[in-house]
């Protein structure tokens, strides 16, 4: 959506046009729902929370000054709302993953290994701390730029990159975890 079209849409929403707000919801529901679903651990809460995000947007639009892009502002609302979600509501994580062997590159069936890696990665993301989950979801799954993430989170861009590197290192460490009882892989001199 171009800047002009976005400003026009916001102006129409502020005038109380229900049709304009419906357009806004249609425009951003994919982003909001994907971010919320990836950030919270209980998928059954995703729809309710994503709707709550849009209610906050509706209440907040009269105060939106337009200094940041609308998507950046919406991302910040998602982050704040997910952060306020009580951790006790998180459902237990899928323990089935622990039964699988650690990922090994160049195995006999690389295609199968890749698909397995994708599945395990999908689950490992849910085990990341919430602040890393929302960053990974924003950057890698929804294609948000470092600059927009930094602006939304009020962090320097370098810090955003460092957090993303740490998140990926954590993911690697989770995927490297050997299954219980399996042989320790040989390690080179450290």
């Amino acid at each position: 959506m171009s800047d002009t079209a976005e400003r026009d849409l916001i102006a129409r929403c502020r005038q109380g046009e229900d049709g304009a707000f419906r357009e806004l919801v249609d425009q951003y529901k994919g982003l909001v729902f994907a971010l919320v679903a990836r950030t919270i651990r209980d998928p059954s809460r995703a729809e309710d929370l994503a709707q709550e995000v849009f209610l906050k947007i509706h209440r907040g639009l009269p105060y939106f000054r337009g200094d940041a892009r609308l998507s950046t502002w919406i991302y910040r609302i998602v982050v704040n709302l997910c952060a306020s979600e009580r951790p006790s509501r998180d459902v237990p994580l899928d323990a089935g993953d622990e039964e699988r062997p650690a990922w090994e590159p160049g195995g006999p069936d690389r295609a199968y290994g890749d698909v397995e890696l994708r599945d395990r990665l999908d689950k490992a993301i849910r085990r990341l701390p919430a602040h890393y989950r929302v960053l990974v979801a924003g950057h890698y799954l929804r294609g948000m730029k470092y600059e927009d993430l930094a602006e939304a989170l009020h962090l320097p861009m370098g810090t955003v990159k460092t957090h993303l590197h740490r998140a990926k290192r954590l993911l690697r460490e989770m995927l490297e975890e050997p299954r219980p009882g399996s042989e320790q892989r040989t390690a080179n001199s450290e």
Partner: protein, 160 residues
């Protein structure tokens, strides 16, 4: 160069934010563990953007709009209630004013006993409230400040 030092840099190097030093390259050429970690990191980089993205249900937009309408209706109800209270208070004032005017012009006669009783009631109530007045004032001030801070934080959260 150790495996741990390599491990800390893998993602920054793969993202193009850093480059391997010659020491690191030499270590990577001979260390199968680090090679495996780099391969895993590359796999993660390859798959992250391709992971399935959750999509909202078809009824999502209508659900949001229904909640928006419900919230607006509640706000209007609160506004209506406030308006009704204000109207009732206004009517009460008018009635009291008219009664007072009628009494002062002699159209309504109120016995001296009733007037004395009302004066006494006002005096007793005033005497009971007077010692607590500073407490009530401070409480009212704190409440006002609290509401002010709440309003300010809500307002600040929505700005930008």
């Amino acid at each position: 160069m150790t495996c741990d030092q390599i491990n800390l840099r893998i993602d920054a190097v793969l993202d193009g934010d850093e480059a391997w030093t010659s020491d690191a390259r030499a270590h990577l050429d001979t260390c199968s563990r680090c090679q495996s970690r780099v391969a895993l990191a590359q796999g993660i980089n390859r798959w992250l953007p391709q992971l399935p993205v959750d999509t909202p249900p078809a009824t999502f937009t209508s659900g949001v709009m229904a909640r928006v309408r419900r919230e607006r209706w509640r706000a209007e109800q609160a506004l209506d209630a406030g308006f009704n209270v204000a109207i009732a208070a206004g009517l009460l004032l008018i009635v009291a004013g008219v009664a007072g005017l009628a009494w002062s012009s002699g159209l309504i006669v109120v016995g001296a006993d009733v007037v004395a009783l009302m004066r006494e009631a006002i005096a007793v109530t005033g005497a009971e409230i007077a010692p607590q007045l500073p407490t009530y004032s401070v409480a009212a001030l704190l409440l006002t400040m609290g509401l002010g801070v709440w309003w300010w934080t809500e307002h600040a959260n929505f700005e930008r």
